[in-house]
């Protein structure tokens, strides 16, 4: 992280190792690189000094006793070892080793020893850094850093800089709620942006609603738009299943045929997507041949495939996520299903395609909120990609990563427009924004704060030509249109 001002404030009072360690894995992951380097460096130092002094057995009784005194305390053992051995090693070595030890002790949860100033705008960012969506979450952090850096370079809010407080929600609603509460109560954040699961975002939303803190959710959900979960503090930068599935369906049904088989992960995400496809399909007279529900975490789809083959659908719609999606597509390819039917998916992820390789995904069509390749046509995407590449060693942002950028950026720009971080003023300002930050024109619908935005239809390339990041062709763009969302009335809103 070369050119950004990222204060990660230690949540534990004195940076004590173990005590809060487990709970703060989020911060830990952000600083993991630095810490690993430090640990490795000081380990090698202490190993070297150990080597110089020969085996443990040569220790005198006195030092053995002083060692034992500290035995219950892991970090002090380390320090004790240093002291014990110091008499025989050179002063220079002692100084290097000791200072490495001091840095090690102080570093775990502090990149920057400066405490955050009172005046900074704090954006809490709970995302699942550990767990199955870790790769996506880490990319969200990288993209959010870009938004923070841009805001600060632009002078902030009348000189008030912004900072990002990253926490690990472990993809667990309870954990996310605790972290969010902590961010609000202890760290006094101004905004919350984050979450990477339908269930987690609802848990976060419950807290922010109650504490009247603005929350911008950056993962897919239909429910968050509905009146039961919505509050004026709730914003939704991500697409929702209704919009995504609808866009893919509207593209695929007229082109490939009306007989559709679904292979669906059996949980809320899958059910919402199937509903989205079926509602979009009504206009085309689409017939559902079968909706096969499979449990999450299925390692072998082969028993489900003969039945699909026997039904001879025009389109096979595979609705699942992550590893389930990779395995399902791989095995459907092996069984030769692509020869007789078109395979579509509501969402094709950048990271999933990287992990699965080109063979399994080849010629599969799906939707996405962002793909870096749109930069040929959309200048704001080009600017965002370039900035991201510059900050993150030439990498390009993934789809969910870009949402991290959008989510943070809109709230900060809203604060700038409002000239304040007062939630009520920022809400009014964000509602009024018509913006193009990274993917073309966008705005938040007033009734449910859903971001009205374009959906990109992409097809996975069989053989990438332009390097590792060349995964998809953008074959169509569904322009932002409120008509493609469920109406405010259908969601239970008054207006």
């Amino acid at each position: 992280m070369p050119d950004i001002d990222l204060h990660v404030v230690s949540p534990a009072p004195d940076g004590e190792f173990g005590a809060k360690g487990a709970g703060e894995a989020g911060t830990a992951a952000v600083v993991a690189n630095d810490v690993t380097t430090l640990i490795r460096r000081s380990m090698s130092l202490s190993l070297k000094s150990l080597y110089r002094q020969g085996p443990w057995s040569r220790r005198s009784d006195a030092s053995d006793r002083s060692f034992r005194k500290y035995q219950h305390h892991p970090r002090r053992i380390y320090m004790a070892k240093q002291t014990i051995r110091s008499n025989s090693i050179s002063r220079r070595r002692l100084l290097t080793t000791a200072s490495a030890g001091v840095v090690l002790a102080a570093s775990p949860f502090r990149i920057n020893l400066l405490q955050a100033q009172e005046a900074t705008i704090k954006v809490g960012f709970p995302v699942p850094l550990t767990g199955p969506y870790g790769a996506e979450a880490q990319d969200q952090v990288r993209a959010a850093e870009v938004a923070i850096a841009e805001f600060n370079e632009g002078g902030g809010l009348n000189g008030r800089k912004a900072e990002l407080l990253v926490r690990d929600d472990k993809l667990n609603p309870g954990e996310a709620a605790t972290r969010t509460l902590e961010l609000i109560e202890k760290d006094k954040v101004n905004f919350i942006v984050g979450s990477l699961s339908a269930a987690v975002q609802l848990a976060v939303n419950n807290i922010t609603k109650e504490r009247q803190i603005i929350f911008n959710s950056i993962s897919q959900s239909d429910i968050i738009n509905e009146v039961s979960d919505f509050s004026k503090y709730t914003f939704h930068e991500a697409l929702n299943p209704h919009l995504t599935a609808g866009a893919v369906g509207r593209y695929a049904f007229p082109k490939f045929g009306k007989k559709v088989a679904f292979l669906t992960a059996d949980y809320a995400y899958g059910h919402e997507m199937v509903r989205g496809f079926q509602e979009a399909g009504k206009a085309f007279g689409v017939e559902t041949l079968v909706d096969i529900r499979h449990p999450l975490g299925t390692a072998d789809f082969s028993p489900l495939l003969p039945r699909i083959q026997a039904l001879k659908p025009d389109i096979l719609c595979i609705i699942n996520f992550g590893r389930d999606q990779q395995i399902a597509l791989k095995q459907a390819t092996d069984f030769g299903l692509k020869k007789s039917m078109k395979i579509i998916a509501p969402i094709l992820l950048y990271t999933a395609r990287v992990a699965a390789g080109p063979q399994a995904f080849a010629e599969v069509i799906g939707g996405t909120s962002y793909y870096w390749g749109i930069e040929d046509k959309i200048p704001s995407a080009k600017a965002f990609n370039d900035r991201f590449r510059k900050m993150h060693a030439g990498k390009v942002p993934s789809d969910y990563g870009a949402l991290g950028y959008g989510g943070v950026k809109t709230l900060l720009m809203g604060a700038k427009a409002a000239g304040s971080v007062e939630p009520d003023k920022v809400i009014v300002a964000v509602e009024a924004l018509k913006f193009d930050y990274y993917k073309g024109p966008e705005y938040y619908r007033k009734c449910d704060h859903q971001a009205v935005q374009s959906v990109f239809i992409i097809e996975s390339k069989a053989t990438p030509q332009k390097g590792d990041a060349d995964l998809y062709d953008v074959i169509a763009t569904e322009e932002p249109n409120e008509k493609n969302l469920r109406t405010c009335e259908a969601l239970g809103h008054k207006s």
């Binding site: 489900l304 039945r307 083959q309 030769g336 063979q359």
Partner: protein, 294 residues
């Protein structure tokens, strides 16, 4: 519901048998180690995962898949030898729960080491080119690679059977499982035999992992899911019985496949229902020796 044609049912049955072959290949090592050493090896899934990663690593070095088929079992088997010699051997004679807990912890260590070395997200693993595509087996199309896996599983089983039943070394192994004390009295160094058996068991697990990699890709957690299924297979077949593991593996495959046709939501639970029924009727499994666990 699709029209139930003969072809569909036949293909579904065949798919089940193919799935069963993969279960058998994985469970056989588990069963072998338990039957001969009375060690419940919870690290079996980790050896399976390591097999896939070793294959991935060898391929990245420029090896080919056929070479991996030989090298992976040898390398993973060697890991097994090391684990037996230095971790499991000190625990013999201390009750069944000691090695169980040790291997359980070991599996976490191995998964974590692989995460550190190769990263948390998975890798693609392409099917070798000449085994790609599907062939017509008379009742429908079936992936060539899965046929190949069935062939390998059959070959491994045949080899193992010949080794155990037709060689004098196999005779010692079987005798050691039946009555270790007498075998020792006869002057056989049993700890060497056990070391060897553990090596074979983990080598087969590594081979199974390599064979599974083109079916589902490679990820550090891949051993955890199949371990549950493998335990069902070993328990249904009878702990320690190799023939039982074969029959139970194929049966579990067919049960999963047939449930998938009629009630896909039940597929995952069906194998546990099968296990419960078998245990109610025959607590030691199909061919298990009663009292082995006590």
């Amino acid at each position: 519901m699709p029209p139930l044609s003969f072809d569909l049912i036949a293909l579904q049955l065949f798919t089940g048998l193919a799935l069963g072959a993969i279960y058998v290949l994985f469970a056989i090592g588990l069963s072998l180690i338990f039957g001969m050493l009375t060690v419940v090896n919870f690290a079996h899934g980790a050896f399976y995962m390591v097999g896939a990663y070793v294959g991935l690593f060898l391929l990245s070095l420029g090896g080919n898949f056929w070479l991996c088929l030989l090298a992976v079992p040898l390398i993973v088997g060697t890991c097994g030898l090391i684990v037996e010699r230095f971790l499991i051997r000190p625990l013999y004679g201390r009750g069944i729960d000691y090695p169980l807990l040790l291997t359980f912890g070991l599996s976490y260590v191995m998964v974590e080491l692989i995460r550190i070395a190769f990263g948390k997200s998975g890798y693609p693993f392409d099917t070798p080119e000449i085994l790609q595509g599907a062939v017509n087996i008379g009742v429908g199309y079936f992936p060539l690679y899965r046929l190949f896996v069935i062939g390998i599983a059959a070959a491994v089983l045949l080899g193992l059977w010949l080794f155990l039943e037709r060689t004098s070394f196999g005779l010692i192994i079987r005798a050691g499982a039946r009555d270790p004390q007498i075998v020792r009295v006869l002057g056989v160094n049993l700890s060497r035999i056990w070391l060897f058996v553990f090596g074979i068991g983990s080598g087969i697990a590594g081979l199974a992992g390599l064979l599974a990699a083109p079916l589902q890709g490679v990820i550090p957690e891949m051993g955890a899911t199949i371990l549950a299924e493998a335990f069902v297979v070993t328990v249904v077949g009878g702990m320690g019985s190799i023939g039982g593991a074969v029959i139970a593996g194929l049966l579990v495959g067919v049960v999963v496949s047939m449930t998938s046709l009629f009630a896909p939501e039940m597929a995952k639970v069906s194998i546990f229902a099968l296990m419960a029924i078998v245990l109610l009727i025959r607590p030691q499994g199909f061919f298990g020796r009663a009292g082995l666990m006590s």
